[in-house]
Symmetry: D2
Subunit: 359 residues, 4 copies
């Protein structure tokens, strides 16, 4: 395993942490050497500490790793973080300060001016912010923070960015139907969601609105100018295990045909595909022609959970266009997003000394 | 029971038919004397023919009524219809032609120029179309057709019309999360909706878009001019038993404060309330201040299932305003809507000879 | 309200506490004058402290009651308790010691030799234990503790006791399918129960097995001799909001026909029915003849949630007989059970000085 | 593909038919060359005819196969059948009469004296019935019928047979919690199962009771003597997509310790494992030690959906022992069961001329 980067996971016992463990089980470039979590888990083996909630077994390789405290003394070359936001800010900064690259799924740093909010297919040029970050922050050599967006932002941006770059977005109206796994474990109480929808997800509407503008913003003069189009998001929890759906209306600066829009989305491919990054789906966007697709149960695992499925693309009487988009909120929307970020950074020699050693 | 109108129900064994039976059980002005349904049920008693799917028992009074064919020879003064749309057009017209008032929940005649598409609180003046209808159609004395809107249209119009009349709507963007009972029985297959959402409901988006404009349209020169604002609807099935939720954005001609909007909705009251119609909710619109309301499980039965609950009213970055609205799709959205229509018509002496006899 | 007993509720903000509030809203003999809960709620009004999870609104009468600590200085004549078991033992004893009658839904004292484990229709004679209790415990005048069984025990005992008393049970095999509301709020995580069943409920199998024997046991020589038949219980959580179902096999000492068993159950009536206690269902057991009943959604509210529905009664190849039984776990199985206990005790002049004053 | 048997699927568009297609996609010994279904589908390509309900896409290789009538003129070496029982009897016999080996998942022939009801790990010796069948029936050379059990029987037998063969079963009491996919598509109406359990599955209890005895019966004197122990089954539908759970009590002739029972189950291995049949799970039975396992969502896909997971093995007060068992009802319980049957038959040179050609 000499050619693998050694990886630590912060928040390893949670829903996203478990997905990190699952996704990295057979990864060719990363191997898990450290698992860190909250007080309650520390000192136990991962198998003891973790109430495993994914189908299939805990991978053998990590079962006996002893869970550490989230202190920047882990034996690894980088960390993936899925810490709860309330503790992420301080802890992640501690790690970066000590020279660890931090690839974070938490919201803590997403809107910091010098922190890339990255979707490799969409705004890989925002990685240039790392140069700014290096000058702004007092991190030891190699230390850095890169974030991925909120799970519902990702589905929206994946479906819209190719259209924005080609036709120009003027405004976007999003209504999400979000899976329960997005709230972690124990997360949503069954009494709140069985025979019910739950119309409030704390902070979510604000995140989708602002993150969308930041990701599609332009990098210039050492910062990201937010995309100028307004975004409206209503975010609703529904009784689905995995898979966030977004009902999207959008107004464009030009008037492409529905057929052209489908082609633009279908043909979309970007740097991760070109570089054949391990976690990158071959086709980032799958356009469904059936009138009743996409559906979470049928489409969330497309492209290994990394592809975005889009359907019901048609004209809209108010905004001009509409569609339904969907992806797997814990894979493309969280753990897989961070892993793809790390793969891209590794390919760009951005994971520090350790990484360059391995190129 | 001399002062009660005798009522027949077309489509009596279906989901909406059962609700008619339940809602009319103790009604002071209507009593069920005839039940009609498809071939399979005819000749059986209602208790035998009907696979009762509501909590509670089949009302004693109807258990032994023998189910008839849907032929216009029923022993009753008016009929409520919840026939499937494919057979509603011919059957309902047959009844009206023979002099029966037909209060229909079916979509067949909703968009016919001379047929009222009625929500008593909103457009009771559209009942004037009955004068036109009398001249257009060759119905025997007393025969008429009045319809109520689609179940998801009703929630939208209830929440928006008070604002439209006061501030003027410029455009409306609706995303519905609709309950499975809206599809009847057997309706939605459990394999399509468990751990899933289903993004397609046949004909629904078109209905919500056009019915909304028709109901809020103005009656003038013997016809209804559609309201001029564009409506966009995406309609999605979710795993909820009863209760349609609508995420609504809307643009107004003026700029009332959120507080003013809440007051306008909260204070809304109309003719059915003034007349104290039996099925009319005391407060047609209930404004919820909690950040996580309305919810189907908690709010669908407000006002006996006849009130519309509205919450999360706030500014919206694209359309200006947004909110979440909800009501019971089978009561306010179907059977209860038709019963309220009949109550209003009865109070307006519009139910023909029989009715005037009873005033 | 001079003729009402003043009632306090311990654990008033929880799932069962909310049901107490709802069930007592219009009660003719009890009125709520005190609400007590954990630290977090104390000092707030009930409306502020309580995240109300039942359909309908918090009753006006209790909205502004300030939530107290669970200390035995409440302004009331008796307390209903739905405290979590870990704190119930000490707190309930504190109240009884200070002279409060404690009508408890908690498990803390259920198996104490001198505490009645009461189902009014089944073992009202066990109230004689209160004489023993008076001598055993150092309670102030009026202080006492009476408990009701576990929510799944009640459905089993209601369905079996009439048969036991008539034919004699030799053994019982029970498999429960229990609703999520039985675990309180937040209770069961949606990720554990959506598209899933959960085969473990802590302590439940032991409770059903032992409580069943205790309730059907005979009171003699100042104590309850456990019923001698062995009971096997496997208890499973399923994705149902309200309504516990039990699949029951049973062996009898004699061999009545299926018809006789149905009649025995159908005709069962007991002291609460004779006394016309307010919460007592007219028919404690409803025998369903349909092959697909009882079902939680259709039958849980039978008899105001207080009746037990039984169906699929037939011969069994191993035990001789089998059936499916069901009732509402939060009404008949918890809050309603305790209210009925109190009604019976009130009618028997067992609620102390206060009660006798009101007789 | 010269070394593959050419396979036809009867009932190819249904829930089980789709699983056959999915499971055979990359099979080393079978390739699909014919798909047959009901009238409505005939003449369309499979992609057109089939409303695909499984995650992932329809395999490319079958998309353009034109769906045939279920007539015994298909271009294939054997057929898998998942026909509805009402048409299975005639159709399957037609195929066998014309010389096709019929590997059936239907119930039509399961209890016929000369037809193997086969679980390869359990009663492979029952294949000797094919000799009897050859003499009894007028099938052309190669024609035969082999069946697999009902989906809920399989989970029960897999968990019990190793114990029966070692310790001797005296009686068995089974309560199943069955997934909705077991009823096919559209199958269970969502209104019947959302927030509900459904206590009746037509014919299921009888099937589990009789099939269990037949499978564990002894082959002697050219027939199968049913196992002598009585079986009681109550079968209940629950709101789970895939995965049947069985709560099982059982009485043994001897009194092994719980530890011995676990070892017997854990170590169980049989002919399919020995032969390393392609679909055979490496470990047929997985014993879970966690107190809350097995669970459908976590365990149904164990061993590629072919392993049976067993947990909560403990003493029982009435029958002596109890446990919870679970497997994937559409894979191990239906399509995978039939494929494994075919693999075993192929290895035993029982698939006729075609098969021997391939050995």
């Amino acid at each position: 395993m000499a050619n693998k980067l050694r990886v630590g996971i912060l928040g390893a016992t949670g829903t996203v942490g478990q997905r990190f463990v699952q996704l990295l089980e057979n990864h060719s470039r990363f191997e898990i050497t450290a698992l860190a979590a909250s007080d309650r888990s520390q000192g136990k083996t991962y198998a003891e500490a973790c109430s495993w909630k994914l189908a299939g077994e805990i991978p053998e390789a990590v079962k006996s790793i002893v869970v550490s405290a989230c202190e920047p003394n882990l034996d690894c070359d980088l960390v993936f973080s899925s810490l709860p936001s309330e503790m992420a800010r301080e802890t992640e900064e501690n790690f970066a300060r000590e020279g660890y690259p931090v690839i974070s799924n938490s919201s803590a740093f997403r809107m910091d001016e010098d922190v890339p909010l990255l979707i490799p297919e969409i705004n890989h040029d925002h990685l240039k912010l790392l140069e700014v970050q290096k000058q702004t922050r007092n991190f030891k050599e190699g230390g850095l923070i890169v974030t991925n967006p909120n799970c519902s932002t990702i589905v929206v941006v994946m479906a819209l960015a190719p259209l924005h770059y080609r036709y120009g977005l003027e405004s976007v109206v999003i209504t999400t139907l979000q899976a329960i796994s997005g709230a972690g474990y124990p997360g949503v109480a069954s009494l709140d969601i069985t025979d019910n929808i739950y119309p409030f997800i704390k902070g979510e509407e604000e995140k989708v609105e602002s993150e969308t503008q930041r990701i599609m913003g332009q990098f210039q003069n050492d910062k990201v100018e937010y995309a100028p189009f307004p975004v409206s998001a209503q975010t609703i929890r529904v009784n689905v295990v995995d898979g966030h759906t977004a009902a999207i209306r959008f107004k464009l600066k030009s008037t492409p045909s529905i057929e052209e829009i489908k082609e633009t989305l279908s043909n979309f491919s970007s740097l991760p595909q070109e570089l054949k990054l391990e976690t990158a789906p071959q086709r980032p966007i799958i356009v469904r022609e059936e009138q009743d697709r996409p559906q979470p149960k049928l489409d969330r695992n497309a492209g290994g959970g990394m592809a975005t499925s889009v359907g019901r693309i048609m004209h809209d009487k108010v905004l001009g266009y509409r569609m339904i988009a969907l992806n797997h909120n814990v894979i493309r929307g969280a753990a897989g997003a961070a892993v793809l970020n790390a793969e891209l950074m590794l390919s760009q020699s951005l994971l520090g000394a350790q990484a360059s050693r391995l190129q």
